[in-house]
């Protein structure tokens, strides 16, 4: 090796480790800050508080509902994007990614413009007896808006990565497109789909800006944990820390669990038998 390339090798290795460690610290330290601030007794005390339980329960309910809705609406979209070309596809792709890049408060405002009482669909909704702002349903809508792109993105990538030869084989075995999707493409893409569900759920759990703008902030109906933490920051920092910790732990457990489920789906195969006697 020349002198320059050995410098490159050493430098590259060290540099990579250092930068990675920096990033790890950047993410871990704030979380450690919260953990260290909360004593176990404070944690238990907070968990006993009815308002805390209320916002925790609301967060769980709404994020779960939002995830289910995202799944139901998002999988077909992901399937379409992965398997079809159609005019305007680029625009749809951008649309699907948009909630990930616009500020959540802006999203909340946009939701009001569409579904608020005075919004585009306001009169129609009122006529049907549907109200979204200031309701739990509104919270779910805000969460779906902000978190479905994660599910669609992951699922689409998974669907698109399924090798065409499997689908071709399925076609020759009497599988129409829908049957082939359900029995071949979806199962083979399941790890990606599950990862998408995990990200979607975690994002819904942490949703704040769109929720507070669109659904409002009211204990019991719309005050999810993130909103509660925000309020507590102005009242009682210890309570805020405790609630923050609970949320972070919930999200972490969720993500880890999903990852594990996704990995566990394809158990590593046992080594294939090579030339065994009889050589069949």
């Amino acid at each position: 090796m020349t002198r320059r390339s050995s410098w490159l090798e050493a430098g590259g290795r060290i540099g990579t480790l250092v930068l990675a460690a920096l990033l790890g610290a950047l993410l871990a330290l704030p979380l450690a800050g919260i953990v260290l601030r909360v004593t176990p007794s404070a944690l238990l005390q907070q968990l006993a508080e009815p308002t805390v339980r209320q916002s925790l329960w609301l967060s769980l309910e709404t994020s779960l509902a939002a995830t289910v809705v995202s799944l139901v609406l998002g999988l077909p979209m992901a399937a379409l994007l992965a398997t079809r070309e159609f005019p305007g596809k680029r625009a749809v792709e951008v649309l699907m990614d948009l909630p990930m890049v616009i500020p959540p408060t802006v999203a909340g405002f946009a939701l009001l413009m569409a579904f608020g009482r005075a919004g585009l669909l306001g009169k129609s909704f009122s006529a049907l007896g549907i109200t979204l702002p200031f309701t739990t349903a509104g919270v779910v809508v805000a969460q779906v808006f902000m978190s479905v792109p994660f599910l669609v993105g992951a699922a689409r990538a998974g669907f698109a990565a399924v090798e065409p030869r499997y689908l071709d084989a399925a076609a020759t075995l009497r599988a129409g497109e829908v049957y082939g999707f359900l029995r071949v493409r979806l199962p083979l893409a399941l790890p990606s789909v599950i990862a998408g569900i995990g990200m979607c759920w975690a994002r819904a759990l942490g949703e704040f800006g769109a929720t507070i703008t669109f659904a409002g902030n009211m204990a019991g109906s719309t005050r999810t944990v993130p909103l509660d933490v925000y309020l507590l920051l102005q009242e009682n920092l210890d309570s805020a820390a405790t609630l923050s910790l609970i949320l972070v732990v919930m999200a972490a457990v969720l993500l880890a669990g999903m990852r594990q489920a996704g990995l566990g789906l394809f158990a590593p195969p046992r080594a294939p038998r090579s030339a065994q006697a009889p050589a069949r």
């Binding site: 005075a118 702002p133 409002g216 902030n217 009211m218 719309t222 309020l231 102005q234 009242e235």
Partner: protein, 267 residues
């Protein structure tokens, strides 16, 4: 690109960045003002006057609910001036030794009930707020105007012509607790809420066309007291800014935007 060519490009690219960094060094004087959201227009105007009077100085504002500002400062946010919409949060800052000098009351404000011009809730008078099914938006309890609003409701429930449990009836119509007074105004403006309680000064020229005001009579109207103080560790420009706010000029600006002078006797 050749090795040298790449480096030349990099150096040339850095020049504008360096130039930009140098610019603030020239106008390094700035004064940071943390102020209640309701003071947005008034203080911004006073800030412009300040900048004209002292060329080279920039006034930076952070407008939010007074409760947010107080907690931010407690957590170490740097400010030179703090203007709070109530005594409570100013005292909070004082108790934590954040102030450089004693606070001074510089303005007051009345509360008003605002409804969208199209009046979706069909509200004609204050008593109508007790009607079940209405959508009322207030600021959170911790926000000065939120506390004031609740105080007003309590006072009204003791007044003639109002039911005994008026405050409870009205609060059962509460659908959202906003972060600051402007968010309350926005919800009413957007016609999402049937009614909201804000400061008189919040009904600015730009929102007036979309809102109707129902006044809260003075005996029942908790008049908000705004105080201002310089922050410990802040720069001397802060004193100048406070002085301008308290001067006849500053007071005129506040009055023009619906604020009451500090001296009017409270009922």
């Amino acid at each position: 690109m050749s090795f040298r060519g790449r480096h030349t490009g990099l150096a040339l690219g850095l020049l504008p960045a360096l130039a930009a960094m140098a610019a603030p060094l020239a106008a390094q004087q700035s004064v940071t003002v943390f102020a209640a959201a309701s003071l947005t227009e008034a203080l911004t105007a006073i800030g412009r006057t300040f900048e004209q009077r002292y060329p080279g100085v920039t006034v930076k504002f952070n407008f939010a609910g007074s409760q947010v500002l107080a907690t931010q400062m407690e957590q170490g946010a740097r400010a030179d001036v703090f203007a709070s919409a109530d005594q409570r949060w100013m005292k909070y800052a004082e108790d934590r030794k954040l102030l450089a000098a004693a606070p001074v009351t510089f303005a007051r404000n009345r509360l008003v009930l605002v409804i969208p011009r199209s009046n979706p809730g069909g509200i004609e008078r204050l008593q109508d707020l007790a009607r079940p099914g209405l959508k009322l938006v207030l600021a959170g309890r911790q926000v000065p105007v939120g506390a004031y609003s609740r105080e007003a409701l309590t006072r009204l429930s003791l007044a003639d012509g109002f039911p005994r449990r008026f405050d409870q009836l009205v609060l059962s119509n509460l659908v959202s607790e906003e972060e600051n007074v402007r968010a309350v105004a926005a919800k009413v403006q957007l016609r999402e809420a049937d009614a909201g309680i804000v400061y008189q000064s919040d009904v600015t020229e730009s929102v007036k066309p979309q809102l109707r005001i129902i006044p809260i009579p003075d005996p029942h109207n908790p008049i908000a007291e705004y105080s201002i103080a310089t922050i410990a560790g802040g720069n001397s420009l802060g004193r100048g800014f406070v002085a301008l706010v308290l001067s006849a000029e500053g007071q005129a600006v506040l009055a023009a935007r619906g604020f009451l002078p500090p001296g009017t006797p409270t009922p």
